[in-house]
């Protein structure tokens, strides 16, 4: 222990400007609010990773495939494959007026899967539609409740070739 170095550091504190500078670093390349704003404008936004080239959507602070930190905002096609869906007959409080409605999982062409709603007649929503090509066709708006402040949206898809 004789050679242990004792670091002498004066405890003078850190300059406020330096702390403010730390706070100005941006860690989020595409915020969820901006992603929702994109949906409202009819665009599906995502992030392209400089490391692996993969697309992240919905946005995350790091690449969903390789955890890469260098992400660039991109607009996605909004087209993909219907992976699965359900028809909700008993809703959560706040969604009763929407019943029956059809949440769905779509694998978009660029790679990631996203949750949305499917715009289709309940009678046509059979197992056979799984695997069909779907495309972004608007949004569904949720006005929130006492636990969720503000208005939030999710993408709505329609089956390509069906009106």
């Amino acid at each position: 222990m004789a050679n242990k170095k004792v670091m002498k550091k004066e405890m003078v504190g850190k300059e406020q400007e330096e702390i403010e500078k730390e706070l100005s670093n941006e860690y989020i390349a595409l915020t969820y609010a901006d992603y929702e704003a994109g949906l409202k404008a009819g665009k599906l936004l995502g992030l392209k990773c400089a490391s692996c080239g993969g697309i992240t959507c919905h946005p995350m602070p790091v690449c969903q495939w390789c955890s890469g930190r260098h992400l660039e905002k991109v607009e996605l096609s909004g087209e993909g494959e219907l992976r699965t869906f359900t028809i909700i007959r008993v809703a959560s409080e706040g969604f009763e007026d929407d019943v029956p409605y059809i949440p769905c999982l779509v694998e978009i062409k660029e790679g990631p899967c996203i949750i949305g709603r499917l715009d289709i007649d309940v009678e046509s929503a059979t197992q056979g539609i799984i695997g069909k090509t779907v495309t972004l066709d608007g949004i569904s708006t949720y006005n929130g409740d006492k636990f969720v402040s503000g208005e939030h949206v999710c993408p709505v898809f329609k089956i390509v070739g069906q009106e």
């Binding site: 909700i88 809703a91 959560s92 899967c113």
Partner: protein, 395 residues
């Protein structure tokens, strides 16, 4: 690290309770303490699962008040929240702390009063453990998530949906049969002779899942007393040993990949098996998280008991019933026994311990008593997974 044993277990009646959560948890805890032959002053820490107490009774921080209600002294008391897996992760951490040598005798368990909330509000608050930004605005519900998984299962394994629905119904028939025999179950003496057609023709909740594919909302509590394995003999002749645990986390539904092969469940089970030095074929009895009929099939496959896509047929052939290869949910499971979400993991452990002591209800007790048992608990839409492997002998 020391091995850990369970020396006392307690379990309230599941169903609708007029008692408060504090009373329910106290009741289960006092049963467990009496079973172990310990008193409040012996307990050094409390680990409590509770998922939604803020919504049920306007109560947060229930663990501290639970310790106070039992006059445990000013011991550390911590609430664990992992949605429906809350009690299992509380038990797992309790095991870790006893194992570390920090505490010798601890109380672990969970409590919930979900039935009291009513269906619409309970469905809303349960759906809070879905990914709020993406699944919230879509109006996804828990039955909805598993309905989507069921449709994927049908597609993935090329089983026509109507055929799959009948096979899934067998899970409900089996679990109700055993729930009806269990006096602590919500559906004791009810629906013991359910038929496949009763399940498929019941009210549709989230297509293709009907009401009878779903577990109920429930009130109830369960608790355990844990101590170091080397001390267990001082308290009882037939302690049950914790041989391995695993815990894992999932993601939003959209980023989890294949809904029929949730990585979080596969990984958690693998860790527990590795920790225990056992394999799926060693397990004699299983309590798994049958929140929906399809969930039981997916769980059986993820844990390695059946090949991918094979659990539906295995269930229909009775392989998971009493007398089969792997009796599963002989307590009635979540479907027949009830699912007070914060208590469920502790209830699962309770029933494995009871099986190992030969004290499960007649018709549910397997013979001979199991040497090795396992629990599987799922929180959210595959967001929190926990597995616990138990044995009658030390490692």
């Amino acid at each position: 690290m020391r091995d850990v044993a369970i020396i006392g277990v307690g379990h309230t009646k599941f169903g609708r309770a007029s008692k408060t959560s504090l009373e329910l948890f106290s009741e289960a805890s006092l049963q467990a303490m009496d079973d172990a032959g310990v008193i409040g002053q012996d307990i050094e820490a409390l680990f409590q699962g509770a998922a939604l107490p803020g919504f049920e009774e306007g109560q947060v921080m229930p663990a501290a008040f639970s310790a106070a209600e039992l006059n445990l002294g000013h011991i550390p008391a911590t609430r664990y929240e992992g949605a429906c897996a809350s009690a299992s992760i509380a038990i797992r951490d309790a095991v870790m702390w006893v194992s570390s040598g920090e505490y010798d005798i601890v109380l672990a368990g969970g409590v919930e009063k979900a039935l009291t909330m009513g269906t619409a509000f309970a469905t809303r608050t349960f759906a809070m453990s879905c990914h709020a930004p993406t699944e919230g605005p879509a109006g996804l519900t828990f039955p909805g998530v598993f309905a989507m998984a069921a449709r994927r299962y049908s597609k993935e394994y090329d089983i026509p949906l109507d055929t799959l629905r009948e096979k899934m119904a067998q899970v409900s028939v089996k679990n109700h049969k055993h729930g009806a025999l269990n006096p602590r179950a919500q559906f004791y003496k009810k629906m013991g002779d359910l038929k496949v057609e009763d399940v498929v023709n019941a009210r549709m909740i989230a297509d293709p899942l009907t009401l009878m594919d779903c577990c109920p909302f429930s009130d109830g509590a369960a608790a355990l007393v844990l101590c170091p394995a080397e001390d267990a003999g001082k308290y009882m002749d037939d302690p049950v040993y914790v041989l391995g645990t695993g815990q894992s986390s999932g993601s939003s539904l959209s980023k989890m990949g294949d809904l029929t092969k949730p990585v979080s469940r596969i990984q958690s089970a693998k860790v527990a098996f590795k920790h225990a030095g056992l394999e799926p074929r060693d397990i004699d009895i299983l309590e798994l998280h049958d929140c929906f009929t399809i969930a039981e099939l997916i769980a059986l496959e993820c844990m390695g008991f059946f090949g991918w896509g094979e659990a539906a047929d295995a269930t229909a052939q009775g392989e998971t019933d009493i007398g089969g290869k792997l009796p599963t949910n002989m307590s009635g499971g979540l479907i027949g026994k009830g699912h007070p979400i914060g208590a469920t993991g502790a209830s699962q452990v309770y029933w494995i311990v009871k099986q190992m002591r030969g004290e499960a209800a007649k018709g549910n007790q397997i013979d001979p008593v199991p040497e090795y048992g396992m629990t599987d608990t799922l929180g959210g839409d595959f967001g929190t997974l926990c597995h616990i492997i138990l044995g009658r002998t030390k490692r």
